[in-house]
């Protein structure tokens, strides 16, 4: 059993222990979950430090590290050929940073779960199963395995939102589930199509191996998604383009893009704080990761044709999300919409198909991962105390909660892209990439870069305005004295979670090479892969 398997299945041990322990020991569940997540985080950190930055990843096995390759399902299906499904794990520059991020955000989520009291056994075991699925998604290199983890991820989330959520939790939970499932069942059809189009050059069997799918030489001639002589059309669109579009939408729902984002505010508002943290910190990145790992790498030819539209969708998400955030009166909704806006940068960066743009997109994902987690945690702090997060119900919180205000201010400034913080690096690289795109010839016009900068401006507007509305001025609270006494400043546990997160934002803002070094060769390899089709 390799390190990656250990990383993925460590939380499963925690689930088993939690399920087996009697309810009289319910207070120990969170410590078990915490212990295993710390172990997982340490392991992820160790792997990150051991990663060989020169490995190119993406489409060659040798470019991946910590590879585990076991055959899982081998079946002879007669006319359908030989079924070849592998337990195939590996990480490259794209997946490893996200893996480390996931371990970090999971740790934050466990920290934020400290005050949960309702059915602890179910809560922590579901959280740990979610952890397994998320880790699996980022490691899987077999499409079947990827799909299994991708779907398994939905189930614990449904229950986490549905049981521990707010007033409209049933609606939010099923909406989230339906949106994602809608994307993924059609993804399944494309997976089946790819399966029949690709053969393993070594065995001649059809395969779900993603790396084989990235190599045009492995495509069967005249197959549905084949490269050469492919005149297959569905509804007048060429087969490879339709495959790209279906996969893109499956992942874009997760990102989320406008207009498929409407599940996100609902899910965030109804979800308990830890689940919001995981949603924003990890799950949105699954979408971005999927687009890079699968849409771009398996369908580079279609991606090149469609990237103008991708860029446009990115721009719309940035601007529309920001404008919506400006209009929100619920603090959590505001942050949810800011996520839509910030994830738009990821899409724009990917669409630029330049090394700067894709690196920027990756960096933006990492940075948004822990910054949005911190923001949701901060909302959770205030919600825990007075069970309200309506912006206009608070005023002048500075005098009541000075430390809290300090953290909020730093988190807001970091998120709006102040130089010196990580979000700045991500957004700047995306905009540089988009700007350069025209000279490289990838077809993203310069006005998109300008529109992207407008998004940064808007995000400054809504963050600063919120800061002004809630924290400055004379103290005036809707709940009066009762609230004033309930609103105590941050405690040790909360600071212990927030401080490293914001310190990380600063650290990565000052030394971005911590991420870029490991990312670079994979990005260059991907760009080279795509460039052939420009």
């Amino acid at each position: 059993m390799g390190l990656l398997s250990l990383l993925i299945f460590l939380p499963l041990i925690a689930t088993t222990i939690i399920l087996l322990l009697p309810s009289s020991l319910r207070d120990s569940y969170k410590y078990i979950a915490l212990g295993f997540t710390i172990a997982q985080f340490t392991l992820a950190g160790y792997m990150y430090s051991q990663f060989d930055a020169a490995a190119s990843g993406v489409d060659t096995v040798s470019g991946y590290q910590f590879v585990e390759h076991l055959s899982w399902i081998r079946m002879d299906l007669g006319t359908l050929g030989k079924l070849e499904i592998d337990y195939f794990l590996g990480v490259d520059g794209f997946s490893l940073p996200l893996l480390a991020l996931s371990a970090f955000v999971m740790l934050m989520a466990i920290g934020a779960s400290w005050n949960i009291t309702k059915s602890l056994k179910g809560y922590f075991s579901l959280l740990m199963i979610l952890n397994v699925a998320v880790m699996g998604i980022f490691c899987a290199l077999d499409f079947f395995l990827f799909y299994v983890f991708y779907e398994v991820m939905l189930l614990p989330l449904y229950f986490l939102i549905g049981i521990w959520g707010g007033a409209r939790r049933e609606y939010a939970a099923i909406k989230f589930f339906i949106y994602t499932l809608f994307g993924s069942v059609f993804m399944l059809l494309v997976i089946v199509g790819l399966y029949f189009s690709v053969t393993n050059p070594l065995t001649g069997a059809h395969t779900f191996n993603m790396l084989h799918m990235m190599n045009p030489a492995n495509y069967v001639e005249n197959s549905f998604f084949g490269y050469i002589n492919n005149y297959n059309e569905v509804f007048g669109i060429s087969a490879r383009m339709i495959g790209f579009i279906v996969l893109f939408f499956a992942f874009a729902i997760k990102v989320p893009i406008v207009p498929l984002h409407t599940w996100l505010p609902d899910a965030h508002v109804e979800a308990p704080t830890p689940v919001s943290i995981i949603l924003a910190g990890i799950l949105l990145k699954v979408g971005g990761y999927g687009i890079i790992r699968i849409c771009l790498s398996i369908f580079p030819d279609a991606a090149v044709e469609a990237n103008w539209w991708l860029g446009l969708i990115g721009i719309i998400s940035i601007i529309y999300g920001a404008l919506n955030a400006l209009a929100q009166k619920d603090l959590k909704r505001l942050i949810a919409y800011s996520s839509v806006s910030h994830m738009g940068f990821v899409l724009l960066g990917i669409a630029s198909l330049t090394a700067e743009g894709i690196s920027g997109a990756m960096f933006q994902m990492i940075s948004h991962g822990f910054l949005s987690a911190a923001l949701f945690f901060l909302v959770g702090v205030i919600y825990d105390r007075v069970h309200d997060r309506y912006i206009y119900n608070f005023r002048g919180l500075t005098s009541l909660m000075p430390k809290y205000t300090g953290y909020v201010a730093i988190a807001f400034f970091a998120s709006l892209g102040l130089p010196g913080f990580s979000a700045f690096i991500g957004e700047a690289f995306v905009i540089i990439g988009t700007f350069n795109s025209e000279s490289v010839g990838t077809g993203i016009p310069r006005w998109m870069a300008i529109a992207g900068s407008l998004g940064i401006l808007l995000s400054a507007a809504y963050f600063l305005w919120t800061l002004q509305r809630m924290f400055f001025g004379e103290t005036r609270l809707k709940g009066g004295e009762e609230w004033a006494s309930a609103l105590v400043d941050l405690n040790k546990r909360e600071q212990l979670i927030l401080f490293p997160t914001l310190a990380l934002a600063l650290l990565l803002g000052v030394i971005p090479s911590l991420i870029f070094d490991n990312l670079n060769s994979s990005v260059l390899n991907l760009v080279a892969l795509v460039k052939q089709y420009i």
Binding site: M75, V148, I163, N232
Partner: protein
Amino acid sequence: MNDVALHLSETLDHILASIPQFKPEFALIIVFLFSIIATLFTDRFWKQSSFFVSIIGYIISFFSLLPQLHQPTSGFFGMLVIDDFSVFARGIIVFALLVSTIFIQQHFKSKISQKNLGDVYTVLLTAGLGLNLLTITTNWLLVFIAIETLSISSYILVGYFSENKKQSEAAMKYVLFGAVCSAVMLYGLSLLYGFTGNLDFTSSAHIQGLTAAPQVMTTIALLFVFTGIGFKLSFVPFHAWAPDVYEGAPTPVTAFLSTVPKVGAIVLLARVTQAWTTSLFYFGELTILFITVVAIITMLAGNLIALRQHNMKRMMAYSSIGHTGFLLMAVLVAPSGDPAILLFYLCAYVLMNLAAFAFIDALEQKTGATELESYAGLGKKMPIIFTGFTFIGISLIGLPPTVGFVGKLLVFSSVFERHQSSGDLPYLALLITGALTSVISLFYYFKIPLYAFLRGGQSEQNNHASVTLIVVIGIILTSLVFGIGIFPDLLLGLFK
């Protein structure tokens, strides 16, 4: 005279030689007789004697099946066709019958009923006989006899326990609907016989006759025949009886009705489809077109109507109609001579449905209701049952890591392969409908955890969650659903 006598001895020899091939069914017939005797005489002293007789019968029948594996043969002048397909199908049938019998025994254990349970086991055995016959024949006459044997047994099972007006109505509806469908089918068969002079639907005389006959008449005859099969499979538009009967019948009988007859009917349909679609004549295309259209409509109708149901058993009825549509899709693309994927999906379907009804029955015994609303807040009191039930729901939707997902993936693969090789748009339509209805089905299957876990119920009643045999069976089936979902080659390898 001499001539006849000569033939007679040859005929007798042939019949005697054919008997060993009839062993599994023969076992059922013998046990059927024993079961009657047990019901009449020994049940008075030992109440469970007829139950154990039929259990032993199924086990004997199962073991006499095993020697037939990989020994394709035919007997009784071509009336019986024994191949691996039928061996596996009968294996599934016998397994499902065994489980259903245990369900019935457990269900009525605690109830004081005036009715004699022994009769039910006996009737179940004849149903098994009919089903077995259905899977091993290509002769329309025997098909009709098998369908009638099965139908009449089913009528009795549904009507036997009717206690109130609703249940009697369900039984009555079932009988009337069934009788009409049988009559129509018989008429269709008589037309087929008139055109061809041959009742074996795989024979070349049959196919030639169909080609020579007027196209309109052949079409009508085929549609009539499909009516009879459609009734047993309950695809749209012959599904109307299913919800009422499923709701009205006792839960274990519903468990039987929703799974076992479908296996037999699907096997038959697969044989007919393979025989006709491999010939290049218009009725082959007609059959494909008919099954495609019916599959799409059945998937959509079953899943959409299920959304509006509040009774768990009614919901399962529509869910099984939806799955029938999916099974039709699997039938359509099952390559001749290699029904592994079809068998896998049938097996998955049987496992999932039996498990679902095991949980429904367990809950019915504890709460006395099958309404979805009555499950509200029970998740915390009976975590094992509802966790299992949720898993079955996930499998019925077709999400990993369950057997339902693998089944769906395999069927999608075969349909896709057909689309790729033929480029026909109907296959694409089937794929899209299949995917879309999976999403739709999420809404209603997730009503189970929605009520059980997400909604709070009134907590005044205190059901102590004792673990009964039926729950244990449900859990075993659920773990099979889960285990085969992760390692599908365990089951799929069996069908090779």
